[in-house]
């Protein structure tokens, strides 16, 4: 089954971290992604640019409107994600617990819902 691991980072999570430690963390994260990929347990992983770069949009009555910034103003923001392949929720938790960012961030693990096209009138 596929699970999405959402990495939520506190705005101040990196306060006081040295440039060197920061680079190490990045290297470690890339290493872990590769390890997962090699084991056939990673579909996709990405880090996101700072939340200040976000745009939120909606379409209502055919009209597009946009606002600057994230959907919700919170202390913790989505900083990245991993789409992993695991046997079950506990394996997904186990894989997510080894994500280096788990030491700084909160990871939300959500099973993917499989959608199928069906007849809307059925």
């Amino acid at each position: 089954m596929r699970y999405l691991c959402l990495v939520y980072v506190d705005d101040h999570a990196f306060d006081g971290m040295s440039e060197r430690d920061n680079r190490r963390l990045t290297n470690e994260s890339i290493d872990y992604d590769e390890e997962l990929k090699k084991a056939g347990q990673l579909h996709l992983a990405a880090a996101l640019q700072p939340v200040a770069t976000a745009v939120t949009l909606r379409v209502r009555n055919g009209k597009l409107s946009t606002t600057d910034g994230p959907f919700a103003e919170t202390k913790e923001h989505l900083g990245g994600f991993l789409l992993i392949e695991a046997r079950d929720l506990n394996e997904a938790i186990q894989l997510a617990s080894k994500v280096p960012m788990a030491r700084l961030a909160s990871l939300e693990v959500r099973p993917i819902m499989e959608l199928e096209k069906t007849d809307p009138d059925a």
């Binding site: 089954m1 470690e28 390890e35 084991a39 056939g40 347990q41 046997r87 079950d88 929720l89 506990n90 394996e91 938790i93 186990q94 099973p111």
Partner: protein
């Protein structure tokens, strides 16, 4: 062509042997997570190599040793960040031949060891069941959650906490010594029996049985009998088979509950009854049997009666007397009362139930009130029977049981 066949074989070996390989890896590596990762890597390696090089002569041994090497490798890689991993990797590598079986008193199956770890008394019972179903039976977290009608994150958390507890409390990865075996085995049998009952008498919810749980419990029961020649393990397996033999007759096609006396006995599973009855005899012959065997013996008397009114109630009442000595409890006493009522008349049974309730026991147990209601009905004390059925209905939680009690009540009013 060969390649595809070999790949299919990897899948077949996964289905039949992955839990045994996991159990062995847990013993060798002394850690659930490391073992699960190693299992995954071993099968990934098999999927890559077997189609090309052919399936090894002993696939299980190949998977165990591959998994072990992969785990050591993984610890080495992690040791670049965490020095303690290097020491662990060295220790694991220094261990002797990995395939040698442990020789503790001739008990030499890794799955058995795994059952004892999963059912360790330091873990709460719901965690014991979840862990056993996942690690020994190979169910997924989501399947366990569906079977117990609880959200998957709840089950996941139980498993995470149980594993943390095993690690922190340093619960040893081994089968208990012969001296402590009886106590610990009692705990294991209890977990298996709870699992069976959870499936058989689903305590709440819409469905009367949950076959996956009963099926897994019986599978574990067989495994315990195969691995440990213990009369009570035999008795428990017999009890589960005999109860399960009535599965098709316990509910009508509409999902309504059917009492033992009213069941269509041609729907009973003769194969399971024969197996169960033979196991009961074997357990009774050991002369060191306990309450599971006695309950199985009672179930066997029921199962072997061709018609409800040819049931040997005298023998059943006698077995309940023995059960009251082996494992006295108000519920056993209640069941004994029903058997006594069948042997000596409703009045005799009613007197026992009234005594139990007067003592303050089972007052909130719906089956005590429905049994009492049934005896009152038979004695023609209709008003009292109605009150008792209503009380039972108020306490019952399972939908089919509630509908059954409602029908009984309706019938009393329509008289």
């Amino acid at each position: 062509m060969d390649e595809r066949r070999n790949l299919e074989q990897v899948e077949a070996v996964y289905r039949t042997d992955s839990r045994r390989v996991l159990a062995t890896l847990i013993r060798l590596l002394g850690d659930f997570e490391l073992a699960e990762e190693a299992l995954h890597e071993a099968f990934a390696a098999a999927a890559a190599q077997w189609p090309r090089d052919g399936v090894p002569k002993n696939p299980r041994a190949w998977l165990v040793s591959t998994g072990r090497f992969k785990a050591i490798d993984r610890l080495r890689r992690r040791s670049r960040r965490d020095a303690s991993m290097a020491e662990l990797a060295r220790q694991l590598e220094a261990q002797s031949e990995p395939m040698t079986e442990p020789s503790d008193d001739g008990i030499a199956d890794d799955r058995l060891q795994l059952i004892f770890i999963c059912c360790h008394p330091a873990l709460p019972p719901d965690a014991q069941m979840a862990l056993t179903l996942r690690e020994v039976c190979g169910l997924t977290t989501e399947e366990i959650a569906r079977a117990f009608l609880v959200p998957a994150p709840t089950v996941a958390q139980r498993i995470v906490r149980a594993k943390a507890k095993i690690r922190e409390a340093r619960i040893p990865y081994r089968v208990p010594d012969l001296a402590e075996l009886p106590d610990r085995l009692e705990g294991v049998l209890h977990v298996v029996y709870l699992m069976f009952n959870e499936g058989y008498l689903a305590s709440s919810g819409a469905s009367l049985t949950r076959h996956d749980l009963t099926g897994e419990a019986i599978r574990l029961g067989r495994l315990l009998v195969e691995l440990l020649a213990d009369p009570e393990a035999v008795g428990l397996l017999a009890l589960m088979l005999l109860n399960d033999s009535r599965r098709a007759a316990r509910a009508s096609p509409q999902g309504e509950m059917v009492l033992l006396a009213d069941q269509d006995r041609s729907l009973w599973d003769c194969e399971k009854i024969a197996q169960g009855a033979a196991l009961v005899e074997k357990a009774l012959a050991s002369r060191s049997f306990g309450h599971y065997t006695l309950q199985a013996a009672i179930a066997a008397v029921h199962a072997l009666a061709p018609k409800a009114d040819s049931t040997d109630w005298a023998q059943i009442a006698g077995l309940y007397d023995l059960l009251m000595q082996a494992a006295p409890s108000p519920v056993v006493e209640l069941n004994r009362a029903v058997a006594v009522a069948m042997r000596d008349g409703a009045e005799a049974g009613l007197a026992i139930i009234d005594a139990i309730l007067a003592r303050g026991d089972l007052q909130d147990y719906h089956l005590a009130h429905s049994a009492r209601a049934d005896l009152l009905r038979r004695l023609g004390r209709t008003a009292e029977a109605r009150t008792a059925y209503s009380r039972a209905l108020n306490l019952a939680q399972q939908e089919p049981e509630r509908r059954f009690l409602t029908r009984r009540l309706d019938r009393l009013y329509s008289r």
